[in-house]
Amino acid sequence: MTDQNTSLSPLDLETPEKPFLDANELVINMGPQHPATHGVLRVILRLDGEKVMGLECVIGYLHRGVEKIGENRTYTMFNPYVDRMDYVAAVSNGLGYCETVEKLLGVEAPPRAQYIRVILTELNRMASHQLWLGTHALDIGAITPLFYTFRDREEILKIFEKYCGARLTTHAFRIGGLQYEAYEGFEKDVRNFVSFVAPKIDEYEELLTTNRIWLERTKGVGIISGKDCIALGVTGPVLRASGVKWDLRKAQPYANYKNFDFDIPIGQCGDTYDRYLVRMAEFRQSLRIIQQAVDGIPEGPIMAKVPKVIKPPVGEVYHSIEAPKGELGYFIVSDGSTQPYRLRVRPPSFVNLQALDQMCRGQLVADVIAVIGTLDIVLGEVDR
């Protein structure tokens, strides 16, 4: 446990007042094997009674050296590896990587490929949010939503499986477009899914949105201001719930997103409940995008002209997309060979996790669980 004064945080965090006269601090180690730390996150909590005086995250239990692997694989070979970072939103990772390399090569995927990419990515955003909702509610003690979300997430995974044969680590996209043409009945499946899942989202909301206990557990818990979010580099729904209207799909449109009509839901006070509402609204926006994309899907080729052996010109590129959890960026330095000279990933979970201390100070132990859930971290992405 490091000294509390040597905080690496850009914010000056105050130690909350102690409620008791001579209460002793209790240091508790939460994780890496703990039911509510979403994988192998280890949190060292300093408690005064039930009040959190400060905490420290210990990460790296799932470190596989993805960035270093990237330097030793060709551009094509590295593509499946990115699926293993945020394994609940593998399609988004693939989209980010493929677009980055395309940007480096100076090619663009054909429109049909881009539409299919958007459909799959938005489906994946919904799957990721469903997993978040289930586990977040489970952490707060509501066990039933988990099974409801898993039931509906299954339908998304079925579409993935039919499209590319894999359910989780899909490797759905290729540099320059797609390898597989959409299977027969793809559009029908997606349309069916849209009409199937819309009432289900109402069902989740019915269970939680106006539930008194849910409101008490999430309102005013883990508040973070928009300013602090920006200072910490927090992105995604967490940033938007704090009232900052920043969505890369609108701010720096990529992959055809400028052709679609959708809103960016934002929250007001940046508490756990607002983050919940923002993600619930994002479900509906994703459905809108999917509906438009499947209606306007053009005919044509699905692969741009990309050489068999990818040798990008010397240079560097940074490209980022709006993954379900926030800004997912790839920075690639090319030395003109078949392998990247340096590949750096900016994972949203890793950056968002830095806000945990800020959000939990002065709250109770139970709130730490709620906040870890609401940050929606995936340890595969935090540790890479």
Partner: protein
């Protein structure tokens, strides 16, 4: 020998509980019956909770061990008995050892005064309610001991939470109980009773369940008790002491195998115990619906047929499921087992139609049916509600339930005075 037979038989014509009649033999028999019955009830609860919760959550629950997972609790119990018995090296051995025993002891002891019928209780104490509340709150001692003796952080926090929670909710619970005690005194002599059997008899003589007495006062008192009893037994949405997502397993984190199963047993029997208090105090205990309104021999006969009909219905369910079992030979044993279970249930149902059995069993049936409704509520809560945070839990206990129960107590006293002045 002859004397002994006389001694045994002499009780059968008695209209008192064995304890009150001073008959040790029958008291012992009742203790054994309650012990086995309670163990079976806990096993059944285990299966039912998993099944009902599963069906609420779009899944099937246990299906593999026995037909529809009927043998799953037995398999689990066997597994727990055979598991390695782990005691942490730093634990305080003696306290660690005695804590689960204390919890189980207090959970089972309260059943001495639970009245399954006017004669179906081990004994009838004149301080029955106090005894139940007192002994059932002893279990908090065992929980604190378990948390302390484990010498580990999570159990300690769980134990502290648990003790604070149980102590806080006991206050509101006790005040709600007092309002019922006041209601029992609304008779000719003006003396109330604390005896569990006496409370039910008071409801019978006043011709109303206390939940409907002085509407809505009785209902509010019942509501307070119903909330407090969930908190008292550490169940969802007040399951903070064992909040899985926060404290892994709370006070029994370090326990495993048989010791852990004792905590499990105690939790479920405590649930049944507090539900029996609620049933006795507010829902007319063993009384069948409308004992005064629909009296007469025909109504008596009709209502006494209910236990048999229930068992025949369950048997019918078994046969229906048997017909729906897959026809594959792999399932033959399971199908036969389910049919056999149905036959057993049906035979019990037929036995319950025999006149002397019918007369003696129907009290127990109505009591158990009311308790079972509470058990279902427990499961339903668990499937529906998120968990309260610790400070919110305290807020609900002290700032909402306590003032409410004080208000109900004062208003009940006032209403009772007006009532007796009116006479």
């Amino acid at each position: 020998m002859h004397q002994f037979v006389q001694y045994v038989l002499s009780y059968l014509s008695s209209d008192k509980t064995p304890g009150s009649a001073g008959n040790m033999f029958w008291a012992f028999v009742y203790i054994l019956l309650i012990f086995t019955g309670l163990s079976i009830a806990v096993i059944a609860m285990n299966w039912l909770e998993r099944k009902i919760l599963a069906h609420m959550q779009v899944r099937l629950g246990p299906m593999r061990v026995g037909p529809h997972g009927l043998l799953q609790p037995i398999a689990d119990a066997l597994k727990l008995l055979l598991k390695e018995d782990i005691m942490p090296a730093e634990a305080d051995g003696f306290v660690f050892w005695i804590a689960p025993l204390l919890v189980v002891l207090s959970a089972f002891t309260v059943f001495i005064v639970v009245p399954f019928g006017p004669t179906h209780a081990v004994t009838d104490m004149n301080i029955g309610v106090l005894f139940m509340l007192g002994v059932s709150s002893l279990s908090v001692l065992g929980i604190v001991m378990a948390g302390w003796a484990s010498n580990s952080h999570y159990p300690l926090i769980g134990a502290l939470r648990s003790s604070a929670q149980m102590v806080s909710y006991e206050v509101a619970m006790g005040l709600a109980v007092v309002s019922v005690i006041l209601m029992t005194s609304l008779n000719a002599t003006g003396t109330g009773t604390l005896s569990m059997i006496g409370i039910v008899q008071a409801q019978q003589s006043q011709g109303i369940w206390f939940i409907f007495k002085f509407f809505p006062l009785g209902l509010i008192g019942f509501f307070i008790f119903a909330v407090a009893m969930v908190a008292e037994t550490n169940r969802a949405p007040f399951d903070l002491p064992e909040a899985e997502s926060e404290l892994t397993a709370g006070f029994h984190t370090e326990y495993s195998g048989f010791r852990w199963s004792l905590f499990f047993l105690a939790e479920y029997s405590a649930m049944i115990a507090v539900s029996s208090i609620a049933v006795t105090l507010w829902l007319g205990g063993w009384l069948r619906p409308f004992p005064n309104f629909l009296s007469g021999s025909v109504a008596d006969l009709v209502f006494s047929l209910f236990p048999g009909i229930t068992f025949l219905f369950l048997a019918g369910m078994c046969f229906y499921s048997t017909a729906r079992m897959p026809k594959h030979p792999y399932f033959r044993i399971q199908t036969l087992g389910l049919a056999g279970f149905g036959v057993v249930l049906g035979l019990i149902g037929l036995l319950l139609f025999v006149a002397p059995v019918r007369e003696r069993v129907q009290d127990i049936y109505w009591f158990s049916a009311k308790v079972a409704a509470f058990m279902y509520l427990y499961i339903w809560y668990r499937g529906t509600f998120p968990r309260y945070r610790f400070d919110q839990l305290m807020k609900v206990g002290w700032k909402v339930l306590l003032p409410m129960s004080l208000g109900v107590l004062i208003l009940t006293a006032g209403a009772g005075m007006l009532f007796s002045m009116g006479k």
